[in-house]
């Protein structure tokens, strides 16, 4: 079973897509240009502090708001390994899978974890926080295929033997 360990950043409820990437930066040419502004209305310093492999743990309704696909792309470009939240907004959920960003729903972890803590995720099984194990649901095979390929387009390319 795939397993990874990461440092935690804790965010609250209703983290919307305008917080994840504000409208004014959407005109920038690439996601790499945009990512420094990730979460800037809420925590302007956060994008500079996130290290590859870090994990975001949030409250309910993460990703609510607009359908802008730049939101999950920015989270992924910042190096976030996965987002664990009490719940996700539906358009963001689908966009994240389509861009290869792993999302995990877990109702209790958020109430117990502190920023800077380290957690270990065993995919399709549980999240381990200081020995306390929080169960997580398993993902259907078709979503695993998309996530492992790095997104829907890449998964389709792989399935069709295209290298582009």
């Amino acid at each position: 079973m795939e397993q990874f360990t990461g440092r935690v950043w804790v965010l609250g409820d209703d983290i919307d897509t305008d917080i994840i990437i504000p409208t004014e930066y959407l005109a920038l040419k690439t996601i790499e240009d945009m990512k420094q502004y990730g979460f800037s209305p809420l925590r302007p310093e956060l994008a500079g502090q996130i290290q590859p492999g870090d994990i975001i743990v949030a409250g309910k309704n993460f990703g609510c708001g607009s359908s802008r696909e730049q939101a999950p792309e920015v989270v992924k470009a910042l190096g976030i390994r996965c987002v664990i939240a009490k719940s996700f907004a539906r358009i963001f959920f689908r966009n994240s899978i389509n861009n290869g960003l792993l999302l995990i729903e877990q109702p209790d972890l958020h109430d117990h974890v502190k920023e800077g803590d380290t957690i270990t995720v065993t995919v399709n099984q549980d999240v381990d926080h200081n020995g306390e194990k929080y169960p997580i649901a398993s993902l259907p095979d078709n979503l695993v295929e998309i996530l492992n390929a790095g997104g829907l387009v890449k998964a389709m390319q792989k399935r069709n033997g295209i290298h582009k």
């Binding site: 209703d14 919307d16 997104g151 387009v153």
Partner: protein, 416 residues
């Protein structure tokens, strides 16, 4: 087992006799809409990532430039050019400067019974005509454009039984904010809001659009009304026929039911920075404002301009307020001109803009500065949504917004 309207539309699109909540189906999409918020990304993926790029059926596609109109920088000009060139090359219906995408879709395309994907979260608006419209990202849109299909997880339906009639001076906007305040910003996450009951007969298609449009702010996959005589009349006036007219079966399964008595609804406002932080409007009266916005896919229709103009007539916009009035489409704009509404707005000191998303999406027009306060009929009041991260957005009805523009502070029309 009986089905809801939403389930019947998915079953038809999937070519199966029956679906139930939780099933995953491959569906044929009736229509796809994409705007200048993300179309350039879809076009880039189309050119760069596909081995055999093609479009399943260009007649199903509609491209609409509405987010930054006219373009405000060389960057947006370039991304809009990409979209325009692509639409022309592929014979895709292309609209520019004619209105907010959902208004254009309702005026010209949407038919009862259709399953429509839009690369915009407020695509749920189309339920006002008994269609299943839902917002997706640009990757899902690309997949739909290339294959003509997509997959959907059949959502549960939640019934909203509406009884009674809204009191004078209270609007569908107040009703929908009240509902969202009660159920919360993810109160119907991945569910369908079905509006039903005798109260729906008091609501025009324009009113129904207000309700359906904001459904995503409660997390809904979409919202829907039965296409009744009121909806069919709207279609007939525009020379369109329904794809299919469905009603929910008596034994259809609902996840939950709510009842709202329209006669009990009062003017409300959503406070910064959450759409579900809803309070009676009188609780926020007196908050000084810098800008007021009457427009958007939620409240930029002729009904809203009539309400605003009626309140504004004989008054002046406060000298410290910019009052932006933005008709949702050219059809609305022309109608407002014929009725003399534009004259009233301009003589009172409002700034009347061309149809577009304007400050609702906080990019090209009317962006607010540090610590400024906006009262808006736009769709969202997230932190920084309309400009600087320290600025604040309150949401209210056309009447409350217009009254506030006159007073220079938040104010309901009856207190003016």
């Amino acid at each position: 087992m009986g089905m809801t309207i939403a389930e019947k539309i998915i079953a038809l699109a999937a070519g199966v006799p029956e679906v139930k909540a939780g099933d995953i189906h491959t569906v044929n999409l009736d229509r796809m809409m994409s705007n200048d918020g993300t179309t350039h990304l879809t076009v880039d993926m189309y050119h760069n990532k596909l081995k055999h790029p093609h479009i399943a059926d260009p007649k199903k596609m509609v491209f609409i430039v509405d987010h930054n109109v006219p373009s405000d920088s060389p960057k947006t000009a370039a991304s809009q050019k990409k979209m325009r060139d692509f639409a022309r090359e592929h014979n895709i219906d292309f609209w520019e400067g004619k209105g907010v995408c959902h208004q254009i879709m309702m005026e010209n395309y949407v038919r009862p019974g259709e399953l429509i994907f839009g690369a915009d979260s407020h695509t749920c608006t189309y339920g006002a005509l008994g269609a299943f419209g839902t917002g997706v990202g640009c990757t899902d849109l690309l997949y739909g454009m290339v294959t003509g299909t997509s997959w959907v997880l059949v959502p549960e339906t939640v019934k909203f039984n509406l009884v009674g009639k809204l009191p004078e001076g209270v609007y569908p906007r107040d009703l929908m904010l009240t509902i969202i305040g009660e159920i919360g910003a993810n109160g119907v996450n991945y569910q369908v809001m079905e509006f039903t009951g005798e109260g729906t007969k008091t609501l025009s298609v324009n009113d129904r659009m207000v309700l359906c449009n904001l459904a995503v702010e409660a997390g809904a996959k979409t919202a829907i009304f039965q296409a009744d005589e009121i909806a069919l009349e709207y279609l007939r006036e525009r020379g369109r026929e329904p794809k299919a007219v469905f009603e929910s079966d008596p034994d259809a399964v609902y996840a939950r039911e709510y009842t709202f008595d329209l006669s009990k609804i009062q003017p409300v406002a959503a406070r910064p920075d959450f759409v579900d932080d809803v309070v009676p409007a009188k609780e926020v009266c007196g908050v000084r404002i810098d800008e007021a916005f009457l427009g958007s896919c939620n409240n930029g229709r002729i009904d809203d301009l009539r309400v605003g103009a009626k309140i504004l007539k004989g008054h002046k916009v406060s000298d410290h307020v910019r009052f932006l009035v933005v008709p949702a489409s050219q059809e609305v704009y022309l109608q407002a001109m014929k009725e003399g509404l534009i004259e009233i707005f301009m003589e009172s000191g409002a700034i009347v803009m061309n149809p577009n998303c304007s400050v609702c999406w906080g990019s090209c027009q009317g962006v607010i500065g540090e610590n400024e306060v906006l009262i808006s009929t736009g769709t969202r009041n997230f932190k920084g949504r309309a400009g600087h991260p320290s600025s604040k957005v309150y949401l209210g009805s056309s009447a409350t917004v217009t009254a506030s523009a006159i007073k220079g502070e938040i104010c309901t029309a009856d207190q003016l």
